[in-house]
Symmetry: C2
Subunit: 220 residues, 2 copies
DNA sequence: AAATAATTTTAGACTTGGCTAAAAATAACA
DNA sequence: TGTTATTTTTAGCCAAGTCTAAAATTATTT
């Protein structure tokens, strides 16, 4: 089926809300995601329901149907592959790739995205460490923990971030922390839940509680 | 100014018609270019005129204003750079790049297009031999002739095509003719204006009059 | 269990970009 | 120079996607 850019954006929003909450996406939650009014969301939910892309019941929120899920997954695949292109090939900083990928993800050509995937070396993760579904829509899983959950003395490596805002990513830039950076936990302050860690550059940095829970790491 | 995709497409159409005819673009000519009705074109011409992107007088056709020209040139720059990306990097055949570039050209980010230009090695011509304007909008000129105008015995090299249709480009594929192919003129048939040429592969082929005038060559 | 608050839906309107049919202007022809 | 033919514009309509304001429903308090 041929979907408009608007319809695609709603499906992606519902996907992300469903994924995070494991519940039907509420009208208001969707409205925030796509930056529009609740009334507009209701209109669109009725349309998407009519096209059998979502399951929707008045006042009960929306979740993706099988075909809606497939569409949303392909969109995420395109988004993340374009992010890899921008980051790896065009050398954009990781905090700038998302907005451009929001536009590129709507280019319609299976041929294009599969060649791009190949050109990039079939990457499994995007510049923020998020998994890239393959052409069949399968997400790659990975053993990962949040840095917060690890004990003093543990060594690990940054493999992802759960927060994608520009200020947060720039903050990490300032700390010289990026994907692949090795981290050893030296101290955990129970008072303010900050953490003192040593990086692979031998420098010590303090990570506040607005940083620590957003870092996904692999044990080493 | 922020333009819609539709507005951009109209500006590009007017640019191309102006370029080819050296006259204001007629409503009908534009309608053919953007595949729409004459009535819709009139509507849009009034809108573009209101935004000072074109010079337009009822019944007299349209031509680009300075700002309209700048916009159209940047679009062509984006279109042709994306074509180079698709052809050089993703290895698409030259007859498939145009349609995808029609979508990619509307992605808005100066940052992106300048990095792409750099990544591609600042190419001056696209996969069809058309010049790529630089960031300031300047087109590179080149000494070229149409194959038709050359005498028997002349050696030359294909540098561009004036026809971009899929069947035409596939026909050239079949003849093993691509940009860079060297051509020597062996015979010119005055009856049907066909031409017998020898390629750099030493093979001889006959080029009909629906092919010859569409080949742009450089003398060697 | 009411009353109040928050969320969601409906109703009605607007903008963009398209359409067809009819009117007006221009071009071509006899 | 009239008379046709063609082109262009106007007029009126439509679908998508948005909005605000009001009504309906559901959730939260007292
Ligand atoms: Mn992103
Ligand atoms: Mn990402
Ligand atoms: Mn093209
Ligand atoms: Mn081209």
């Amino acid at each position: 089926m041929l979907l408009t850019q608007a319809e695609e954006n709603y499906l992606k929003a519902i996907f992300k809300i469903n994924e995070k909450t494991n519940k039907p996406a509420s009208t208001n939650a969707i409205a925030k995601h796509v930056s529009t009014s609740a009334a507009s969301v209701t209109d669109m939910l009725q349309k998407l329901s009519g096209k059998s892309l979502i399951h929707y019941e008045k006042y009960k929120g929306a979740s993706l149907s099988e075909s809606g899920n497939k569409t949303a997954t392909q969109l995420i695949r395109k988004h993340r592959l374009w992010e890899v292109f921008l980051f790896d090939k065009l050398k954009f900083p990781w905090e700038e790739v998302h907005d451009i990928a929001e536009e590129l993800e709507h280019i319609r050509s299976d041929h294009l995205i599969n060649r791009l995937d190949n050109f990039l070396g079939n990457p499994r993760f995007d510049p923020h460490g998020d998994p890239i579904p393959n052409a069949e829509g399968k997400f790659m899983l990975r053993n990962q923990s949040t840095l917060e959950s690890l004990p003093i003395g543990q060594k690990c490596m940054l493999v992802g971030v759960t927060e994608h805002s520009v200020p947060f990513l720039q903050h990490l830039n300032g700390l010289k922390i990026k994907l692949g950076t090795q981290i050893k936990i030296l101290e955990k302050q129970s008072f303010d839940r900050s953490m003192i860690v040593e990086l692979d550059t031998k420098t010590q940095v303090t990570l506040s509680h607005s940083v620590v829970p957003n870092l996904l790491v692999k044990l080493i």
